[in-house]
Each structure stands twice: as structure tokens, then as C-alpha cells.
């Protein structure tokens, strides 16, 4: 979580410096969700995320360097600089983006799970999306299909209360996301998304059930983004006090507090961890800075596969 936090803070700075361009969506405040859920996955499980996915990518074990290089538009980036912040991909950890169409990742996750189901593999696909995506038709279609076919998907709805500037109560007639899952006969429960241990516990139970063949599950992870939606957002839609109140529930402070109460983390150790994170991020930036740009002559590469023999994944 410290790494994600520091990585995101640095990204914001680099955006100001115009090293990072395009859209940048920070994960600050929501770290416990990615860290808690992805901790319980096996290496060959699959992850589908959104444009707000740096945290998930880092928690999945993708290097900070390649992610940063991606945002610098460098060949050394996770997607050779062709994707940018919103499109982190990694075949090695089965990280399927980085999807920037709200709701677009859900059918994909259903399909990945269908493949596992048909191939008889005991793998799980975890699909992250915001509560804003719940209003999209694809949410409905995907939950129905996954449940109907009993596919191994864990749907993780990160409910940070806002979709850009639209509060949940302005987009949903029924506010309880878990209630919605019931209309697909899908088990679902809400989780305190600011408590990494609670998230991990819930995720473990859900992932075990999914892997065991119980069909899909849905977790509603209640969280909050501390920063603006993207770097363009003047945050007219929510009171400063609300943000401040949520910041009191900072997932990192909370977890550190618990560890320290239990005497499991000394101040020195904490400082060392922070220094590690800082160093990792610095190294990532250096890696990105040192990266190279794809030659313009390669512009139209990767529109179609280059060697039919290397097909498949």
C-alpha cells in the first residue's frame, strides 16, 4: 500500500511536470481494495481492471518501472508506451488491462472465466469496476451470464461513492449493490474497503468459493477516492468536509495503527518501509526516464499480429 501511495503521489507530480500525459486516475485512498483482494490470488488467475488500475497492477506484482515507463510512453513500458496510464497490460501475470470503457471489462472477464471453465482449469478471474459501471447494461448482462453458466468470476465493485461527479444516489434507484446481485442469484456482500484485512478475508472466502466451482461472487468494496477523479476535475460535486472525514479512515494509517497497537511494527520499521517505497518509485522514474521511444516508422505495428505462428495466449 505504501508503494502504491507513493507511486501515485509521484505520478501526480510527474503529471504536473508533463512527463505523464493524457488521463491520469489516481488510486489514493482505495489501496486496501487492490492489495487485499489480489493478495489471495494464484499466479495463473486473471485480473481485469479499469483505467484506475495502477494500484491493481502494482499489487499484482507488475514492476513499478515498466508501469512508470508506460506512462512516459516508452518502449520499456508494460504496453510499449502505446497504452499509457489507462492501459496497463501484462501477459506474465495475466493482467488484462487497463480498460477505459466503463463496464467494458465485465464481458471480457466472463469470457476469460468461460475459457477456464471449458478447459477444466481451476482458475479464477477477478474483475474490478467502479460503482458507476453498475448502471451500464453490460453489468446486468455479464452478471446474468456468469451466474447462469456458473463461471469462476469474482466481481469486485469498488464503490467509492462517485462516478466522476455523479454520486451513487443520482445514478441508482437501489443503492445497495449487493441487493442487485440477488436478482442474478449471485452471492454478494459488502466489505469495508478501507480495511485491508477485512478485504483480504472477504476476498479469500469469495475466491475459495469461486475456485471451488460455486459460480461467480460479487464483493462490494466500500471505499473512497481521496483525490479528484482525474487531473482535470475541479471537484465541484462533493464538499471538502466529506473528503476530510474519509481521510480519517485512510487505509494505510488504519493498518499501520493496527500493526503498531499490536507491536508488530516499530516506527523505525515503518520509516524503513516508507524509504523502500520511495526508493522503488525513484528507481521506477529513473527507469522510465532512461527508456526509449518507439520509432515512428513502427507506428502501425500491433494492429495485426506479426507472426501467425505466435498466435494464442
Amino acid at each position: 500500500m505504501l508503494l502504491i501511495r507513493r507511486f501515485e503521489e509521484k505520478s501526480a507530480e510527474l503529471y504536473q511536470e508533463e512527463k505523464i500525459r493524457g488521463f491520469l486516475h489516481l488510486y489514493i485512498g482505495q489501496e486496501a481494495v487492490a492489495v487485499g483482494t489480489l493478495d489471495v490470488l494464484e499466479p495463473d488467475d486473471a485480473v481485469v481492471a479499469t483505467y484506475r488500475e495502477h494500484g491493481h497492477a502494482l499489487a499484482r506484482g507488475i514492476g513499478a518501472g515498466p508501469i512508470m515507463a508506460e506512462m512516459f510512453g516508452k518502449v520499456e513500458g508494460t504496453s510499449r508506451g502505446r497504452g499509457g496510464s489507462m492501459h496497463i497490460f501484462d501477459a506474465a501475470t495475466r493482467f488484462y488491462g487497463g480498460n477505459a470503457i466503463v463496464g467494458g471489462g465485465l464481458p471480457l472477464a466472463v469470457g476469460l472465466a468461460l475459457a477456464d471453465h471449458l478447459r477444466g482449469l481451476q482458475r479464477v478471474t477477478v474483475c474490478f469496476f467502479g460503482e458507476g459501471a453498475v448502471a451500464e447494461g453490460e453489468f446486468h448482462e455479464s452478471l446474468n451470464l456468469a451466474s447462469l453458466w456458473k463461471l469462476p468470476v469474482l466481481f469486485c465493485c469498488e464503490n467509492n461513492l462517485y462516478a466522476m461527479g455523479t454520486a451513487l444516489e443520482r445514478s441508482e434507484s437501489e443503492l445497495d449493490v449487493a441487493v442487485k446481485a440477488a436478482s442474478y442469484e449471485m452471492p454478494a456482500w459488502p466489505v469495508d474497503g478501507m480495511d485491508v484485512l477485512a478485504v483480504r478475508d472477504a476476498a479469500r472466502r469469495a475466491v475459495d468459493a469461486v475456485r471451488g466451482g460455486g459460480g461467480p461472487y460479487l464483493l462490494e468494496l466500500r471505499t473512497y477516492r481521496f483525490r479528484a477523479h482525474s487531473m482535470f476535475d475541479p471537484e465541484l460535486y462533493r464538499p471538502k468536509e466529506e473528503v476530510e472525514a474519509w481521510k480519517k479512515q485512510d487505509p494505510i494509517d488504519g493498518f499501520v495503527g493496527k500493526l503498531q497497537e499490536a507491536d508488530l511494527l516499530s516506527d523505525d520499521e515503518l520509516e524503513a518501509l516508507k524509504a523502500d517505497a520511495e526508493a522503488d518509485v525513484d528507481e521506477a522514474v529513473a527507469f522510465a526516464e532512461a527508456g526509449t521511444l518507439e520509432p515512428v516508422s513502427d507506428l502501425t505495428r500491433f494492429v495485426y499480429s506479426e507472426d501467425p505462428a505466435e498466435e494464442g495466449s
Partner: protein, 341 residues
């Protein structure tokens, strides 16, 4: 012409089959040959396919591989994309192109972009089949010819099997293709018949084909338009005109070479396109001929296209809205009447 994928000169019987049977046989072969292949779509199983293409396959291959889906175009197309990336080789059937608009986001924003957005990591070997075209009095929401429109999208391939051989042979090649392939089957073709050698096999997706050689002008057509072009060529023969007819076969990528070789020789061309004229693939072809054969042409390229109207139900209006052999004939005579340069 011989089936491109045949295995040498063995003597085999050549039964007459329908286009529908050819597609079914292609699906059956794919299912038999590769266990990663499965068929998924609305009513492909118990109903037997809305055009009876997949009739019998459920019994033969079972529910796991012949999958009836709910009415959820966006999601079952997206699931096909996901399954393809997950190691399977799905054949996704969208009943008709008209409903594919509901899945267009998945096709354009996911299937067509993933390879690129992931810097080459994730290719999407999905095959999406759908029926297309008008001519059966199904009116404005069930008669679109949008295959040429789809050809605008980089990252996908668009093929339009117009012959029994291509109906039989393109599917397997499409399944072997590492990237998304959209197969458009003109619904009027399902009942057409023709000979198909029993050992007919895969054919290349790309490459236009000269279906009838000729010297006086070139008729370019695809999908449902090919029959009409061939009919027009016969009519033209009656007028003493020797028309070359080319089946484009694949709308993305277009085979510029074959087109240019032909029009460079005949110096006159008529394009037949069921789609609405403005912004149709016929415009792209005409533009390319203009760009690459400007000084070779003796007359403006003529386009015989669908009328720019949502398809009317009434039969006489619908027929008037679609290209006809007579219209092609007239366009051909018009272009031949031009003075040349």
C-alpha cells in the same frame, strides 16, 4: 477454380450443397478438428440457428460446445473475445448484423484495440459470424448491409464469403488467424446451391478473385452483390460487352493489386455495393482507383449501391432500394458510352 486448400489432385466426388450446408460443414469440421473451438450465440442450439445453419450440431457436439446465449449481444460477444484470449477459439454468432450494433463497443473498443493497447501482448483470435443484407422484406431494422462499414475498423478483418467454396473454406482460416475476423454471410445466399468437392478445405481470407475474365470493363462486387454482377455480365454479353467480374471476398484488407490489375486493363469499372451509397466501401474502392489508376481510367468509376433509405417493407420498394442486375447493366453501358481519354 480449384479449392485453394485442397490436398493435391485426388479424385473425389463433388456433391451439390447449399451455402447453409457449407457453413454448417465448416463449423462441424472446426469443432471436430480443434477442441478449443466452440459455437456461441442466440438460438444456435435448440432452435438450430435462426437460419438453420447450426441445425443438428447440438446433438452432435453437446451443450458445452454449442452454447445458446441469452439475448445479451454485448456480453456474449465480449465473452467470446475474453474466451479467445483465455485460450479458446470461439465462433460467436450474432444472428444478424442489425443486432451487432449492440455489440459494436466490444468489437471496436475491445477486440480491435487489445493487441495494440497491450503493446502486442494480447491478440484476440475470435471469429464472429453474422448474417447480413436485405431483400427479404424484413424492413428497416432487419435489412442492413453494414459489412462495408465495419471495414473501416483497423484491427479486425472483414470477409464476405459469396461462394459455396468460401462459405466452406473461410471459417477454418479465420479460426487460425491470430486476430479478430468478422464473417458476413448474406442471408439470401443460404439457400443457394453449388458444387463442393468433398475434400474442399480452407481458403485464404484475403485476396480478391476474378470470377469471370473479361476485357471491356470490370465489375467489382462482394457478398450478396456477386450474383447480381455475374447476372449483369451475362446480360452484358448479350450486348456484346465482355465484362470481367471480381469477387472482392475480403473488405478489410482490400486487395488493391487484383483490383488495379483488372481496371488498369479494362480502364472502366462499376462497383456493386448493397450498402447505403454515402460512405460505403464502394467509395473507398473508387477513391483508391482514383488515387492509383488516375491516368489509366477512361471513364469515371460507377457505383451501383443501396438507396439511402431505411429499408422499406413493401417488396417493390425494397427491390428498388437494392442494386439489381439491370442497374448494373445500365451503369456499365453508361461508363462504356463515355468518350475515353
Amino acid at each position: 477454380m480449384s479449392a485453394t486448400g485442397g490436398n493435391g489432385p485426388t479424385t473425389t466426388s463433388t456433391p451439390t450443397v447449399t451455402y447453409r450446408e457449407a457453413v454448417r460443414e465448416a463449423i462441424r469440421e472446426a469443432l471436430t478438428r480443434d477442441e478449443r473451438v466452440f459455437l456461441m450465440g442466440e438460438d444456435v442450439g435448440r432452435y438450430g440457428g435462426c437460419y438453420a445453419v447450426s441445425k443438428g450440431l447440438l446433438d452432435e457436439f453437446g451443450e458445452a460446445r454449442i452454447r445458446d446465449t441469452p439475448l445479451s449481444e454485448s456480453t456474449f460477444v465480449g465473452a467470446g473475445i475474453g474466451a479467445a484470449m483465455g485460450g479458446m477459439r470461439p465462433i460467436v454468432e450474432i444472428m444478424t448484423v442489425n443486432f451487432s450494433l449492440l455489440a459494436l463497443d466490444q468489437i471496436l473498443n475491445t477486440a480491435a484495440t487489445f493487441l495494440h493497447m497491450s503493446g502486442g501482448q494480447f491478440n484476440v483470435p475470435v471469429v464472429i459470424r453474422m448474417a447480413t443484407g436485405g431483400g427479404r422484406q424484413l424492413a428497416a431494422q432487419h435489412s442492413h448491409s453494414l459489412e462495408g462499414w465495419y471495414a473501416h475498423i483497423p484491427g479486425i478483418k472483414v470477409v464476405t464469403p459469396a461462394t459455396i467454396r468460401d462459405a466452406r473454406g473461410m471459417l477454418w482460416t479465420a479460426l487460425e488467424d491470430p486476430d479478430p475476423v468478422l464473417i458476413f454471410e448474406n442471408a439470401l445466399l443460404y439457400d443457394t446451391e453449388g458444387p463442393l468437392p468433398q475434400d474442399a478445405g480452407p481458403v485464404p481470407l484475403e485476396g480478391a478473385e476474378v470470377m469471370r475474365p473479361g476485357d471491356n470493363l470490370t465489375l467489382l462486387a462482394y457478398g450478396g452483390g456477386l450474383r447480381k454482377a455475374l447476372e449483369a455480365a451475362t446480360l452484358l454479353e448479350g450486348e456484346g460487352v465482355d465484362a470481367e467480374v471480381i469477387d472482392l471476398r475480403c473488405l478489410r484488407p482490400l486487395d488493391d493489386d487484383t483490383i488495379l490489375k483488372s481496371v488498369g486493363r479494362t480502364r472502366r469499372a462499376v462497383i456493386v455495393d448493397d450498402g447505403w451509397r454515402s460512405g460505403s466501401i464502394s467509395a473507398e474502392i473508387a477513391a483508391r482507383i482514383g488515387e492509383q489508376a488516375f491516368w489509366e481510367m477512361d471513364a469515371p468509376v460507377e457505383r451501383v449501391c443501396g438507396a439511402e433509405v431505411p429499408m422499406p417493407y413493401a417488396g417493390h420498394l425494397e427491390q428498388a432500394a437494392l442494386p439489381s442486375p439491370t442497374e448494373i447493366l445500365e451503369a456499365a453501358l453508361r461508363t462504356l458510352a463515355r468518350p475515353g481519354r
